[in-house]
């Protein structure tokens, strides 16, 4: 496999000015006033992305993931290290940043294409497709300043995905447009994958990464803390999120609760499809705490099958060891292994207090004829 993106030992630091003296007078009169501080946004990041891979870059706000992406796209220059790229690259960063609002949509398509590095002939060839995809046929000759924000972003997205790039870089832009347009965008990205193009996907939404990526790189305050299969990387990401939350927790609550184990009374996690399952979660708490309990079930492919907090019914933890029973009345899943995550959340289900990723794996056997994940019990008859 050819390395399409080869990030070699990239570091990036910014100078932060505490007192901005940008006038000549100030500089001449007070050459030394105003302190500058060096902020290290990225520290010695190295990884390679092969052709056809879809790699997620995960990290919470301020972890440096956008800086890394901007370096890869060439918007920022790394302070040291280098990035080797093969093939053309289109970035879905800050969509529409290159638009000249005074010009028409048509002119902007060409200008934006040129900005992404594509020739006039190439843009000519895809122009109709761009217009079609963006769904703004009737406004294409209108000045962009009269566009709604949705139209604006749709046009930019349409140019970026239709210019036929070898590498597509996506930065949390899937939140654009209405739901139908979003679905169209996800479709397009899926097709890019199938066509064997390389996609770099940046987000802090773990579900999106699980759904789209083969591999994930995790960044944490400028350091790369994981680079591996999506599941493994996401586990590390979540653990770090927890540690981070502990460090920033004012109520000193985090870390006081741990989920020790998840077991079944029978000791086995093998069940038959359609039967029920009882699980016992052993939770140790240092204080009395009332919150809600959440379970998540994933397929091995990373698809979320179900997430539930049992309608928010509270669990009251006592200091010491608690056992929480989880009853799954019926598991209508088809053949396969399903991974279970469990966690304790606060009342509002906003903050994760304790989390156990892959606390258990459930093996389901199914002897019916349905395919997929879930048994719907479909019956078909002629009327």
């Amino acid at each position: 496999m050819v390395a399409v993106i080869d990030v070699q030992d990239i570091s990036k630091s910014f100078k932060i000015h505490h007192e901005r003296n940008q006038s000549l007078k100030e500089r001449l009169l007070h050459p030394r006033t105003g302190s500058t501080e060096v902020f290290h946004a990225l520290n010695n990041i190295s990884f390679t992305v092969g052709q056809g891979e879809t790699v997620g870059i995960v990290g919470h706000n301020g972890s440096g993931k956008s800086t890394l992406l901007k370096c890869i796209c060439g918007v920022l220059k790394p302070t040291s290290g280098e990035i080797r790229l093969r093939g053309s690259l289109a970035a879905l960063l800050e969509l529409g940043a290159g638009f000249q609002t005074e010009l028409s949509g048509r002119d902007n398509v060409y200008l934006y294409g040129a900005m992404l590095g594509f020739s006039k002939n190439m843009v000519d060839a895809i122009f109709d497709e761009v217009v079609d995809f963006s769904e703004i046929e009737q406004f294409i000759d209108t000045q962009v300043k009269f566009y709604s924000s949705g139209m604006y972003v749709r046009l930019a997205f349409a140019v970026a995905v239709n210019v036929d790039p070898d590498i597509l870089v996506v930065d949390e832009v899937l939140a654009v447009g209405d739901e139908r347009f979003q679905a169209k965008c996800v479709d397009r990205i899926q097709r890019f994958r199938e066509e064997g193009r390389t996609i770099l996907f940046v987000t802090h939404n773990a579900d999106q990464v699980r759904a789209l990526c083969d591999r994930a790189v995790v960044l944490e305050s400028g350091d790369m803390i994981a680079d591996g299969a999506t599941q493994d990387s996401l586990r590390i990401f979540r653990e770090h999120l927890m540690q981070d939350a502990v460090a920033h927790d004012s109520a000193q609550l985090l870390g006081t609760i741990t989920i020790d184990s998840v077991t079944t009374p029978e000791g086995s996690f093998d069940i038959k499809s359609g039967s029920g399952l009882h699980l016992d979660a052993a939770v140790t708490s240092q204080t009395a705490y009332s919150g809600s309990f959440v379970i998540e079930l994933f397929t091995r492919g990373g698809l979320l099958v179900s997430r539930s907090d049992a309608q928010g019914s509270p669990v009251n933890l006592l200091p010491g060891r608690n056992v929480i029973g989880i009853d799954l009345a019926q598991v209508p899943l088809l053949d396969g292994i399903y991974d279970l995550n469990v966690g304790v959340l606060d009342h509002h289900a906003n903050t994760v207090i304790a989390w156990s990723e892959k606390a258990a794996s459930i093996q389901v056997t199914y002897d019916g004829r349905e395919g997929g994940i879930v048994e719907l019990g479909a019956s078909i008859r002629q009327q």
Partner: protein, 312 residues
């Protein structure tokens, strides 16, 4: 939806695609190669610049001629009619110098602030940043061409024959103008990111610079003759715009020593009396110098652009 172009590319191989390197400090040759590979963007930006400028005006690009025409008219009235400088066909003399000066001034005035003005773009889209400054120079070149055409029509209408042989030097002279203007435009646009006063300072400096260049007065009236008596002509031509202006004047105005229109027997030494070879030689030398300046400017820009994001 027509999706045909995307089909059938499933197995394209990137094995032999050239590798692009993003690094802290690309070499000058890499920078120049990248710049050259993005020339289409430059052309696109030049046209969008011009289109935006005249988008909602009825006269459109004619405005680019109206303002220089007005300047030309005023200088003509003041120097030829009121002050009676006695230079025959003064309009042509003035116009051939102004064409050059307008291109230079226009470029520097617009390019100095361009990186700051387009900060949003600079921080979000990847392209060689100097293209922004170069696009302003490019737009000025377009206006220059328009004015040059008007100048030629003017010369023809007045039945004034240009110096045909010297016409050969004109392209060299123009290229020197282009490279020198681009070099200064790039450096100023980058410096302005760090020192925002540069834009205002340049406006003032350009006015001074204008009067240091023999556009409205003749070679004879400048300090050049005094310098040449001491063999120091070179100092006068340290201002690169001077040689270019003088070459344009030599081509379109032609006369080096002319009869005054006000004092019957007086002669005015209006342009240097160099031979064709001397003009060619000097212009080639200037061309070489401006190319070197352009390369230095590109290198300086590369140094300065590394910290743009923390200043914008």
């Amino acid at each position: 939806m027509n999706e045909a172009p995307l089909v059938g590319q499933q197995h394209r191989s990137l094995d032999d695609t050239p590798v692009r390197v993003v690094s802290a400090r690309p070499t000058l040759s890499t920078r120049l190669k990248t710049l050259w590979s993005r020339r289409e963007l430059l052309i696109g930006l030049v046209w969008s610049d011009i289109r935006i400028k005249y988008k909602n005006s009825t006269l459109g690009i004619f405005w680019s001629m109206l303002s220089p025409a007005f300047t030309l008219g005023v200088y003509f009235l003041v120097f030829s009619v009121f002050l009676r400088n006695g230079i025959p066909n003064f309009v042509i003399y003035l116009f051939s110098g102004l064409v050059v000066w307008n291109m230079f001034q226009n470029s520097i005035n617009t390019a100095t602030g361009v990186i700051v003005d387009r900060a949003a773009l600079v921080k979000k889209v990847s392209f060689p940043r100097e293209i922004l400054a170069l696009s302003n120079v490019g737009a000025a070149v377009v206006y220059f061409v328009v004015q040059l055409v008007v100048l030629i029509i003017f010369v023809a209408a007045l039945g004034h024959a240009p110096a045909w042989r010297f016409l050969l030097i004109l392209p060299i002279s123009f290229l020197s103008l282009y490279f020198f203007t681009s070099a200064l435009a790039m450096v100023m646009s980058a410096i302005n990111v760090y020192l925002r006063d540069m834009k205002h300072l340049m406006e003032v400096l350009l006015q001074l610079w204008f009067w240091l260049t023999p556009v409205v007065y003749s070679y004879e009236n400048s300090i050049a003759p005094h310098l040449s008596r001491r063999g120091l002509t070179i100092i006068y031509f340290l201002n690169p715009i001077t040689l270019i202006v003088v070459t344009f004047q030599r081509v379109f105005y032609v006369g080096t020593v002319v009869k005054s229109t006000v004092a019957p027997y007086a002669k005015i030494n209006i342009l240097p009396t160099w031979s064709f070879d001397r003009f060619l030689e000097l212009n080639l030398a200037l061309f070489a110098v401006t190319v070197v300046l352009f390369l230095i400017a590109e290198a300086i820009f590369g140094r300065l652009e590394g910290n743009f994001e923390s200043e914008l």
